[in-house]
Subunit: 146 residues, 2 copies
DNA sequence: ATAGCTGCAAAACCTTTGCAATCAA
DNA sequence: TTGATTGCAAAGGTTTTGCAGCTAT
């Protein structure tokens, strides 16, 4: 990928990486780029790996896993386990959103709701917990599905 | 394994199994029993397997997986993926509850809340979905943890 | 009798790790 | 320079599957 100079993602990426205390390396920039450019918001390590291979980047799958795990520690991405087989990674855009998964099509949609947010915090508090994060997955059937 | 006749769990189990269209076999009754008698509500296949071994039942791990998967299809248990490593199975007691997981101790607690329930249904509807199930996991830190 | 169930071992998956070479700072 | 990072291959942990024998109905 002959990438040009004044590329916003590269600059952003470097900044993000540095802010996370990670050395700025090509594999890391690449993974970040793939996730930012992708139309799918939730990607498995394998998905990311394939995209890299397809765009002629030479990165090992193990590295993708390592990088994604580092990104997770750094708070750049979330690791989700919607159905358990494989983990899906998603960029942290600072909006704590929830998911609706269609049982027929498998399509994933997002939403976020302050009412639920507040209520969860309230409930956690009453149970003695300080809520740091929450994950909501609604399973449903879309009216236009299949 | 030499199981007696008038065992309450056996009778209950048999009914559940038959209702699910599954043959009433010893391994299935045993797995059901273990899950019902366990003090822990969330158990991995391995957990169930160990309990069976400990109580002199001769059941293979593969069978435990198969049985649990069948139970899941039959709606008798839920398969959860709190952190991805291994799946945890939980009896379906018809109460759709949510979970709070302590980040320090790993302890899992449950709750359910009609306000959130209603709100989720409402939101799903507005997105074009008919909600069939939902999973909520709150990550937090308990005030008395570690 | 027979379709379904089981145990065992092997395979399939996803993910992590050891190690020598390579790279960013 | 030098510790961090990488690719490869091998190992690890969880779950599934093929198959021959056993079992509930």
């Amino acid at each position: 990928m002959t990438q040009t100079d004044t590329n916003s993602f590269t600059d952003n990426g470097s900044a993000h990486l540095r802010a996370a205390g990670l050395k700025v390396t090509l594999p890391r920039l690449r993974v970040l780029d793939v996730m930012e450019q992708s139309d799918r918001r939730h990607m498995s390590a394998e998905d990311v790996y394939r995209k890299l291979i397809d765009s002629d980047a030479e990165v090992g799958l193990a590295t993708v896993y390592r990088v994604l795990t580092q990104f997770e520690s750094a708070g750049l991405v979330y690791r989700r386990h919607f159905d358990g087989g494989q983990a899906l990674f998603e960029l942290n855009d600072e909006e704590n959103h929830s998911h609706v998964v269609c049982l027929k099509s498998g399509h994933v949609e997002e939403f976020s709701d302050p009412i639920i947010e507040a209520r969860l915090r309230e409930i956690s508090e009453s149970l003695g917990y300080t809520m740091t994060e929450h994950t909501i997955v609604v399973h449903g059937i879309h009216k236009d599905a299949k």
